[in-house]
Structures are given as structure tokens and as C-alpha cells.
């Protein structure tokens, strides 16, 4: 609470300080900045060095980086400016008579900036100096907002932020976004109403929209850092887990339909192109073509398409080849042929991409239509695959974006996620220091530190990829088999212990070593964790360093 109060007093003083630099109705208050004098949270300052270092260590997991801090500080700064502005305007409306009495007549159509300067400017400079009235109950709404901003601004200046702060920032930004969304709706409505404020309402709405997007991007970064998650990666995994098919499956299941769609569109484009060229022909030429194609002057594009298909068919050109040829600027529906009796060969005149018709033998024409038909089919197929691939990616990205948004909002809207994460962090820290203590204590209880070092050395050689610290932990806290050993260290117990050691890369544990443990000593040793641990250590030593 002390932090809150001091921060607010500081902010108000800061406004005064800026106000004092300028005078006159045009001099508005400057944007409040992040306070430079930071009130430290006494609890953190008083922690013991040990606990502080632990705090710092796990706080790294939730650390928001410098850039994110700057972004948050900038949002907070803008919001605090708005709070002061709103407060000043409300105070102005409530105190018109007082203003008139103390500083003279209020100009007609006084701007918001003039009102702010008048309300917040210091009395020494001839203004109302009403900033402190924010503490009065009737202005509690503004005061509460400034308190919240003040606390977060203070935390932004700390190297190690209190664990709850990243979540409180998410919560704050989420609410600020919601406020902006409501304001945007209001402004858009006013913009559409067609009154004189149209333009400014739309500009303000656009600017708020930009703020909202920036805030969301920052929230996304903070949520990821705070939870130690790659939000997009996690969202993608969830999308697939919820049944979203992979790319190959999706393409295979939709390919035939997409090919028909692409084919229909492409064919329509090719016919449109021919129809446009046909429509632009000079009248005489058009008449000639109409007769050739069996059309009339009034024929529409559908009749034209039918005629094109029909005429191509007469030359033995099926639809796929027809469209393949049209795609390469041949005009298969205008092909003519002639047969020279003395040679017996038929020659085809094929209007093509060069502008002047090409003479082709039947064989060449067959080759051409077969090649262009095949190319056309391949192109339709790959185009359909490309489109499906792109649609699949867009759908996936859309779903990921939505999942990420839901996750960010979930963290920002409910304190449950924050509570769980904070508890998890502290549990981890507690477990670590307790475990370190136990390891140290057990090591000391073993007494023979030198022997321990020797065992560790041999362990490292035999099992370089395993950590002896993990082995100790497993030996002490092993759940299951070792916990369920019998009282006499019989065959099945020896087998279980031998198996456990082998899992840790200790292969030298043979029957002799295991049976060397006296049943009585074993019974006594396993009564306590430490006794059992020492027993395991003896076996480990015998297995690693067998006596000659």
C-alpha cells in the first residue's frame, strides 16, 4: 500500500512539475513518465541472501525481457495519461463555477487541452491545481486506475519482478484491450452516424485499433515467457491432436473436387479470352467466323463455348487437348484440313501463337494435342495441389492463431493459471533446497569422503552419460521395486537391486557381490533411508571396484 501511495504522489507531482514549465491555455500536461524514484517492496529487500538467490534463479523462468518491459511501460504511460485526461475533464464539468470565480471566464468551445491545463496546472502558475482531488472519494474510480498503473510501473523497474507481476500485466492488458474494443465500437458507430465528428472518430478508432494490436502482441510474448511455453508450437500440437489432418491427407481427400473447381475456372477463363477476341473481330470477319462455327450474330458466350467444343471435336480434339491448346494460344476450333489426292496425305492448317497459321501433318497435330493435353492435365493437378496446400496452411495458421489467443486470454482472464504456475515455481525451489540439504547430509554421514570421490570417479567412467547425483536421488527415493524389497535380501531382492544398478550402467554387480551382504546387517540397514542408501553405496563400491 505504501508503494501505491508513494507512486501516485510521485505521479501527481510529476504532472505539476511539467505543468509549471509552461503557461497558457495551449500548454497541456505532458505524458507522465515511469517514475525514476522507485519504492522497493520491503519484503524482497529483507529476504536472506540465500532465499534471494533462489528467488532470482527461478524468477529467470518468468523473466520478461527489456524490450517487453519497455513496451509495457509505454502502454502504462499512455493509459495513465488517459486517466489524468478523463479525470481533468470530469473535474472541469463539476467545477465550472469555481473555475470562473478563480481564473475568469471560460472561453466558448474550450478545447480538452485547455480544460486539462486549467484543471491540472499549478495554482502558482495561475491554474486550478486540482490534481490532488483525485484522492477524494468522488474521484475514486480514477485513483484506483492510477494505483494499478503505479504498482505495475514500479515492478517494471525491478530487475527481478515479483512472481505475480507478469500475470498481473497480462490481466491488466487484457482489460485495457477490452476497454479499447468497447471504445472502438462506440467510435465506429459515431463515425457511421454521419455527424460532424465522423473523421476524428474514425481516426481515433484506427489509432485505438493499432494500440490494441500492439498490446496483444506484447501479451503473447509475455504469456509465452511467463509460462515457459512456445505458444505457437503448443497450439499447433493441440490443433493436430484435436483431429486436424496433415497436409498430405488433406490434399489426397480433396484433390478430385479441387481439380474440378480449378479446371472449371481455368476453362471459363480460356473461353472468356477467346470470346473477347471473337467479339472484337471486324464485322465481316466475324460473320465469316459465325458461319464457320455455326453461330449467329446474336449468339451468346454459352453458344460460343459449345461451338468451340463441337468444332474441335470435328478435328478429333477432345476437351482436355482443346483447353491445353487454347492455353498455349492455339485455336483448335479454327483448324482446317486439306487432302492432296496425289500424295494422299492430309494437311492441317492450325492457327497458333505465332500469329500466322501453321501447316501440320496429322501425326504432328496428334503429337501436339497429346502433349498440350497432358501438360494441361498436369498443370491442373499441380495447381489444385498448390491451392490445397495453401488453403491447408492458412486454415492451420488460423486455428493456431485462435488457440494462441485462447491460451493468452485464459491466462489473462483467470488467476488459476497464474496461481498454479506460482505454486509450481515455489515447489520446485523448495524441493531443490531440501534435496540439496539431504544429499549433503547423507554424504557427510557416509564419513569417507575420499572413498565417495573415488566411487564417483569410477561411476563416471563406467556410466559417463548418467549423473551420480541422479543415481543418489534414485537410490534414496526410488519408488516401486526397491521400496518393496523383502526383509531377508533373498534371491528376488538381490535380483531387483542388481537390476537397478545395471540400469544405471553398473554391470559388475554379480551374485557373489550381492550375496556378500549379510541378511542381519541388511535387515538393520534398511530400516532407515540412510541405512538403505549406505547399503546401496556398498554394493556400488564393490561392483565398481571389485577387490582382486
Amino acid at each position: 500500500m505504501l508503494v501505491v501511495k508513494l507512486t501516485n504522489i510521485y505521479s501527481i507531482k510529476f504532472i505539476y512539475k511539467n505543468m509549471a514549465k509552461t503557461k497558457g491555455p495551449e500548454a497541456g500536461p505532458k505524458t507522465p513518465e515511469v517514475p525514476q524514484e522507485i519504492e522497493r517492496n520491503p519484503f524482497y529487500e529483507q529476504e536472506s541472501v540465500v532465499v534471494k538467490s533462489i528467488t532470482e534463479q527461478y524468477a529467470k523462468e518468468t523473466k520478461i525481457d527489456g524490450q517487453e518491459k519497455k513496451e509495457v511501460a509505454s502502454f502504462l504511460s499512455r493509459d495513465s495519461e488517459k486517466v489524468y485526461r478523463d479525470f481533468a475533464l470530469v473535474w472541469f464539468e463539476n467545477n465550472k463555477a469555481k473555475i470562473t470565480k478563480e481564473i475568469g471566464l471560460i472561453p466558448p468551445n474550450a478545447s480538452d487541452e485547455w480544460k486539462m491545463s486549467t484543471v491540472l496546472g499549478s495554482k502558482e502558475q495561475g491554474f486550478m491545481g486540482a490534481g490532488g482531488d483525485m484522492n477524494k472519494p468522488e474521484y475514486a474510480e480514477f485513483r484506483t486506475k492510477m494505483d494499478k498503473i503505479g504498482v505495475l510501473m514500479t515492478d517494471m523497474k525491478k530487475d527481478v519482478m515479483p512472481p505475480a507481476t507478469p500475470f498481473l500485466i497480462l490481466n491488466y492488458l487484457q482489460n485495457s484491450i477490452r476497454e479499447k474494443e468497447n471504445k472502438i465500437k462506440e467510435l465506429r458507430k459515431s463515425g457511421e452516424a454521419g455527424d460532424a465528428r465522423d473523421a476524428s472518430a474514425i481516426i481515433t478508432a484506427d489509432s485505438l485499433e493499432k494500440d490494441r494490436e500492439e498490446m496483444y502482441e506484447t501479451m503473447k510474448k509475455i504469456a509465452g515467457t511467463t509460462m515457459g511455453e512456445d505458444l505457437a508450437e503448443k497450439a499447433e500440437a493441440k490443433v493436430f491432436k484435436d483431429g486436424f489432418k496433415n497436409k498430405e491427407e488433406t490434399i489426397a481427400s480433396k484433390l478430385e473436387d479441387k481439380k474440378s473447381e480449378v479446371k472449371e475456372k481455368k476453362e471459363q477463363e480460356l473461353i472468356n479470352k477467346e470470346w473477347e477476341a471473337f467479339s472484337r473481330l471486324p464485322d465481316k470477319e466475324k460473320e465469316k467466323q459465325c458461319i464457320k462455327l455455326g453461330l449467329t450474330k446474336e449468339s451468346d458466350i454459352d453458344a460460343f463455348r459449345d461451338a468451340v467444343i463441337e468444332n474441335a471435336k470435328k478435328q478429333g480434339i477432345e476437351e482436355t487437348a482443346l483447353y491445353g491448346m487454347l492455353a498455349k494460344d492455339y485455336k483448335p476450333y479454327q483448324i482446317t484440313s486439306s487432302k492432296f489426292l496425289w500424295v494422299g496425305k492430309e494437311t492441317f492448317i492450325v492457327p497458333g501463337p505465332t500469329g500466322s497459321p501453321e501447316k501440320m501433318s496429322a501425326e504432328r497435330l496428334n503429337n501436339l494435342k497429346s502433349k498440350l493435353g497432358d501438360n494441361y492435365s498436369t498443370e491442373i493437378d499441380s495447381s489444385a495441389q498448390r491451392i490445397l496446400g495453401r488453403e491447408w496452411r492458412e486454415e492451420l495458421e488460423g486455428k493456431i492463431t485462435l488457440e494462441v489467443k485462447n491460451r493468452v486470454e485464459e491466462l489473462a482472464k483467470s488467476p488459476e493459471g497464474a496461481r498454479n504456475k506460482i505454486e509450481k515455481l515455489y515447489n520446485k525451489a523448495r524441493e531443490r533446497i531440501t534435496d540439496e540439504y539431504i544429499q549433503k547430509f547423507l554424504k557427510k554421514a557416509e564419513k569417507t569422503e575420499e572413498k565417495r570421490a573415488e566411487i564417483e570417479k569410477h561411476f563416471k567412467e563406467k556410466s559417463p552419460e548418467k549423473s551420480i547425483k541422479d543415481f543418489y536421488t534414485a537410490a534414496i527415493f526410488q519408488q516401486g521395486r526397491l521400496e518393496n524389497l523383502g526383509d531377508d535380501f533373498g534371491d528376488s531382492d538381490q535380483k531387483a537391486v542388481g537390476g537397478f544398478l545395471r540400469e544405471w550402467g553398473i554391470k559388475g554387480t554379480n551374485k557373489n557381490i550381492l550375496s556378500s551382504i549379510d541378511a542381519g546387517a541388511y535387515k538393520k540397514a534398511r530400516k532407515t533411508q540412510l541405512g538403505f542408501f549406505n547399503l546401496i553405496m556398498k554394493l556400488l563400491e564393490a561392483s565398481l571396484m571389485p577387490k582382486p
Binding site: 504498482v151 500475470f167 488467476p415 547430509f441 554421514a445
Partner: protein
């Protein structure tokens, strides 16, 4: 004479009051009766750190609760 704060029952109830996992508690309870005064002091030092972490956790959760604002519609 062992400082009463370091006697087995006191230390046991201190351990019980802290958020320490059950496996770790079992090891500490097993070893506690055999510990000499110096070892008990070392244990107390570690428990003090766990206690401070408990306090700090409560403080963090309280901070979260008191500053959390229900989402606006």
C-alpha cells in the same frame, strides 16, 4: 542440554508445517532422531529457507489475488 527449539518433536512439527514433499519428509524424519546439535542447527537453517519461501509464496499469491481484476465485458 539441547536447545528445546532443536528437539526432535519441535523440528518434526516444523517440518510437518512446511510444504515439503512426502518422500523428503520421510528421509528427514528417519534421520532426525540420530542428529547431533550441530546437524540439527544445519537442518533448522535449511528449514528456515523453506519457511521463507512459503511466506514469499503466500505473499505472491496474496499480491495476485488483491491486484487481479475480473475481466471486463
Amino acid at each position: 542440554m539441547v536447545n528445546p527449539i532443536l528437539d526432535t518433536d519441535n523440528l518434526k512439527s516444523f517440518i510437518e508445517s512446511l510444504k515439503i514433499n512426502e518422500e523428503q519428509k520421510k528421509v528427514l524424519f528417519d534421520e532426525l532422531p540420530k542428529m547431533d546439535e550441530k546437524e540439527r542447527l544445519e537442518l533448522l537453517d535449511m528449514l528456515k529457507n523453506v519457511y521463507l519461501l512459503n511466506e514469499e509464496e503466500n505473499k505472491a499469491l496474496e499480491n495476485l489475488k488483491s491486484n487481479w481484476e475480473e475481466p471486463k465485458e
